[in-house]
Symmetry: C2
Subunit: 441 residues, 2 copies
């Protein structure tokens, strides 16, 4: 009988074991993918090994034959580590032997080692499985990891419980036609547009809950900021005094995320040239006021008083930057008729809701607000909108049996990543995007 | 202009602020749901406040009228904290005033304050939105949170990167008929049965990746261990020496998870009476050997030499408990014809694969193994199975352009939760389960 007792220490070193000076002048083993291979004359060849946390330069002399080791081979190099200030990390591996674990069957369709790829979006997305090996691409999704991690860690620290709610549902939360339909053992079902109903229900259970999971929107427009499947970071919190508590919680998350980015993702921040926004104080302005201020300052007239067009979001973002020196701005009190049935109307003026969007560098990245917690008020609002409360029986069960005042939000992870990394299309911030024409890779 | 600067300190206390003796004999504010209300005579009423981390007992005398405060009201109680060893947490709040934030519209359909609910599975699942308010139910999903958290934290510490891969896909990873179909803007699409293709692809990018996300299986059987939508904890790691590395990594995760459960979820462990398994050494036995040993010991004959029936899994689990004193057992080398096309066959005997299942108390909770990394070998195995490699072009792109030797696994979060908590149906380990007949709540 054999027993497994956890991970054994391996002989092979990772970059974190090497950078900083440990093992200098020792003979070591390092595994990795051959990211780049370049003969430099005098019988010498430079290999750059791609490891999970960066690159390591290897120098191969004539005794180490790499003529049959193409780029994107998986190798284990044995050699001596020596200081080399011109190499990445200030260290290089002088190869004494190389073992090839696997070889590619074809050369790469794009020059992964180059600083810039210079392929168009369509080409890139078709080749995503290999284009992602580019260091810049890797950094984008490391930044994305940081954001999700910061979201969960911050909220857990604030007393939230993580939940997992179904994505196959019998009714959509957002209404409208942008919902995917599927056959569920002969019954009509949908893909969840958001975890809205479930997270509100769970406020009655844990008071504070969050979920990070895919959501699905069958929107038929093809823009640079829409995906048909994206990752939504949702939370919902009970016993709020006002929807301002929700915005304060999001501000706290952003502060935590930017600190984590600075501390643990410095290499990716530097590679992408990310300007980390100051989130110590995020301005907060009413919807109609924001529209008016931006229109006045930039000299355009307001077309739709009930909605923010993308150009207006952009203008308000610019205003926030120029006037309040902030990359973020909360826009509050959206018109009731543009918000879903569960949004709480402002008792001081029921044409508006106690809701908000968060704009980041001129793009909406969050929608949130206070929800109706009272059963009768929720039923009344549904009926006023011509909805049948019977269609939402299991959702309304939570209200019927008591919910505290509560509110929450949903953050689009890809949009947040896109704006932070300065990408011009949200598809660049999604590993394998789904849009009107794209179902693979 | 207003600016949001993060979470403000609130006056209201949480249980963690109270338990241990702080604020004793002070006048404080505490919010919560009225979990139970019980008149105890002499004009006194006991309220149990349900807070996110437990219960707080409140004593209301005649001056604090709670006659119109039914159970499941949301309240803020002002009062004085005093030591009371018979109350949960050793402290009670002597109410001086109560503010009602919301009231339910109907009484609860089940007696949430009782220690046991005594309702059948069907009734319970129909009433899930409110049944989950029961403290035992809350504990089950806190344990589930712990497992997901341990998975992510352990793997990140081991150099894995978190990824998010699409759930709407153009081809299924597991093949077969148990796949949900949907219409994607006029094209045929499917719901992902696993992130298999994508996580293998991402091994070429980050070397080690993980994902915790929903997967969908249109299986038409209704058993106590199947869900049609569940949460899969997946990882995939490159540069393995053998599939034993994958099992060692899982063992490490289990060790971390059990430690975290013991340290931070003690209240839930105690409430559910969880016996935390010893995972310091997990036995590992070949498929055919495991079948033979269990059949011999428990005196039955093997019906299907190529598969493990649920009764056999149970018997092997019992064997592991009795002979090796382990709640877990790795069963290795499953027959090739029962494993998917991407499984690597054992070079020493290609009828078997370098794969494994992990059984926990007699139930399969994990499937994993080494994958084929060589492009030609993968194409050859597909063709031998009558599959057309052209249908898997974007998946094979990763192999064509080089992948290191790698392997990985998928863990069913609900099954792991079920076995750990000693539940007899996996539906109890899923907040809002999806099965043949259940599409809501």
């Amino acid at each position: 009988m054999e027993f497994l007792k956890g991970m054994k220490k391996t002989e092979r070193l990772e970059l974190k074991d090497i950078i900083g000076g440990a093992h200098r002048n020792e003979t070591v083993q390092v595994s990795g993918m051959v990211h780049a291979k370049r003969p430099v004359g005098g019988g010498l060849t430079f290999l750059k090994l791609r490891k999970r946390d960066g690159l390591l330069q290897c120098t191969c002399g004539e005794r180490v034959d790499v003529s049959k080791v193409p780029e994107e081979s998986a190798v284990v190099v044995t050699g001596r580590l020596r200081e080399e200030l011109r190499a990445p990390g200030g260290v290089e591996l002088v190869a004494e032997g190389i073992e090839v674990l696997s070889r590619p069957a074809a050369v790469m369709p794009v020059p992964i080692p180059k600083a810039k790829l210079n392929v168009n979006l369509d080409t890139e997305l078709g080749l995503r499985p290999v284009v992602l090996r580019h260091l810049r691409e890797r950094s984008v999704f490391r930044v994305q990891e940081c954001l999700g991690r910061a979201f969960r860690d911050y909220l857990r620290d604030q007393g939230f419980t993580e939940i997992h709610t179904p994505k196959i549902v019998h009714a959509g939360a957002e209404g409208g036609s942008n919902i995917f339909r599927l056959d569920y053992f002969g019954r009509k079902a949908f893909l969840a547009q958001s975890p809205q109903f479930y997270k509100q229900t769970m406020v009655g259970v844990y008071e504070r809950v969050f979920e990070l999971a895919p959501v699905f929107r069958a929107e038929k427009h093809s823009t640079a900021r829409h995906l048909n499947e994206y990752t939504s970071m949702d939370f919902e919190m009970g016993f709020i005094n006002s929807f301002e508590d929700v915005m304060a919680m999001e501000t706290g998350f952003l502060q935590h995320a930017m600190a984590l980015l600075r501390e643990e993702y410095a290499q990716d921040v530097e590679r992408l040239g990310i300007r980390i926004p100051d989130v110590s104080a995020v301005p907060c302005i009413r919807f109609d006021e924001a529209k008016r201020l931006a229109a006045e300052r930039y000299g355009y007239s307001i077309r739709d008083p009930y909605d923010l067009e993308p150009e207006e979001e952009h203008a308000i973002g610019r205003y926030a930057r120029e006037v309040w020196e902030s990359d973020f701005v909360f826009v509050t009190h959206y018109p009731s008729k543009k918000r879903p049935f569960y949004a709480m109307d402002d008792p001081e003026d029921p044409q508006y809701t106690l809701s908000f969007d968060l704009l980041f560098r001129g793009l909406e990245v969050t929608t949130g607000g206070q929800r109706i917690h009272d059963y009768r008020a929720q039923v009344a609002k549904m009926e006023a909108r011509g909805m049948d409360p019977a269609d939402f029986e299991s959702y309304l069960m939570a209200h019927r049996h008591g919910l505290p005042p509560h509110g929450g939000l949903g953050i689009g992870l890809e949009r947040l990543t896109m704006q932070l990394c300065g990408l011009d299309n949200v598809r660049y911030a999604c590993l394998f995007p789904r849009d009107l024409s794209r179902l693979e890779p």
